[in-house]
Amino acid sequence: MIHRAIVRRSALVIGIGAASVIAACGGGQGAERPPSSAQSGAGTPASGEAPSVSPSAITPSTVDVLLCDGKTKVNVPQGTPGTAIAGQLMAEWMRKNPNSGWEAEERERHTLQPAADNSALVGQVEGQTYGRITPQDVALWKTETERVATAGSRVFHDAGELGSTIGVSCDMCHPHAANTHPETYPKFQAQLGRVALLRDMINWCIEHPVRGKALASDDPRMRAMEAYILAQRKGKTLEYGKH
């Protein structure tokens, strides 16, 4: 996750002998894969999990360092500089998560409209919710928001992820989400004889031209696609009900 690098990347310098397993914060679950059938990455920031100590590894000359994902571990000689440990941990984590670059790859393939720039708020005090707004806050908001939309872009462009039985994905008719006009929903959809929300139309398309199964309203893929479609119509006037 990108915000990890901004907010809480830290490396520990090892200088203690007794506790031989040390938890280093720096890994996270979010970037391992974009939201697909299970919720992940689309909103939950990786939190630093409690350092865990393994009683089995008591080797005085080396030390096991555990990433805060609780899974990724490297064994290094005592006195190894923290930056080197961090590098090894990262390399190990990347090896186990070959798709961790999905977000950059998706952004390169398919242009995404940027989320709003809130940098004017930096330095202001906003009471209970925000405290004093920092550049990190602003970066976090943007990164996280765009990540959900990027995850949506990935589903939108992937017939397999959409569950199409005939190899059809949304971008075939809607490159860059053109002609999706989310700003006109909800509206009375004459062909359905009732009021439709954007997600109703997404599901209609999934069931008919795409020939897949409708998604639940809270399916991470549905949430992500709504985010993407709305993101791509940035700047358009909301005109619900418009035909």
Binding site: R109, H110, T111, I166, C173, P175, N179, W204, H208, P209
Partner: protein, 384 residues
Amino acid sequence: MDGPKKNPPRVKGVKSVETKHMEERDELYRGLKDLDRRSFLKVSAAAFGAVAGAGIFSPHSFQPVKVAHAQPVTGKVEQFRFAYISDSHLYERSLNDRFINALMRAVDDVNNMNPQPDFVFYGGDLAQLGQAKELEVGAQILKNLKAPVKMMVGEHDWYLDMGDKWRELFGQPTYSFDHKGVHCVVLNSVVEKDFWTARKLTPQQRMQTVAGLDNGVQSPFSVGAEQRKWLENDLKGKPANTPLIVFSHSPLYKLYKNWNFWTDDADEVQAILKRFNNVVVFHGHTHQMLTNRIGNIHFHGFLSTAWPWPYAPEGLPELTVQMSRPDPFNPNDGCGDGSALVHPDGLADKIYNLWNRNPVTVSKNYTASRGTKDKPSVPVRKSY
């Protein structure tokens, strides 16, 4: 891509070898009846020259004679009509019958035309992912057309095997022919710069990348220096009043780069076409009613049988009369086929046969008058 051949074989569509042979033989004898002795000698010499020049010897082929015979002599141009089908994006039948059925509908449309068109032009993107089976099923369906077929390549046909299968089925992608006094040129305008080697993409990944209209990893389309040179040679010596039709998969102008509604070297290609009085370019790829005119060059887009594209958010030519926004509840809306009536001056009436709607004609008077005369009706439901 492979370079265009100096004497590219005439692409006769998808008929069997036997049919082609018999047709060529019949045509040869028909042609010979019209010749007096002197011109027969001329034609024979030209044929021999063409064979020798191309370095080929094919005793079973009558093509060189036919090519020599087809050279315009009188400059008299007859009106004719050709039909078009384009952008069918076929998957294998077992995966997707929707696009297959759409192409079969188009074949029926064309076969029901009365009188039959002189030929049927296929505008490219027969396949969706360039697979042999996709191209084969397409060729199979197109065999049902009664009129002869001329083929053009699209990016979806090409980037899995760089055109191997397509060439095997249909011949060279770059060629020219003369029809009733009009010189027709077919280009491969979907040449992309190598974006795949450095990224270590597999052929499947390369194809998948190109298949995404809004995929920004691929490079812009171009005709390329090699084909531009071929085009110059092909047009060399032709007088400026030769009516000229150019077929290209992408529009031969710069509309919207992000979707490759674009040809990167369009300016250079247009410069080659500039000296002719009347040039009409027909293109696929854009899946919509699209009209443009740049100087002496009139541009018309083909409809797709598979799905319509939205209009580009910018760069739309002023002359374009948009089609009504397609209704998503009707899977064939905004799709279709059509035809063109080519007049003796080389300009054309372009007929968009929109399925489930009234057909729309963009007449030669409309483009010739730069939109002041004969304007097609404006759509009720515009794009958002």
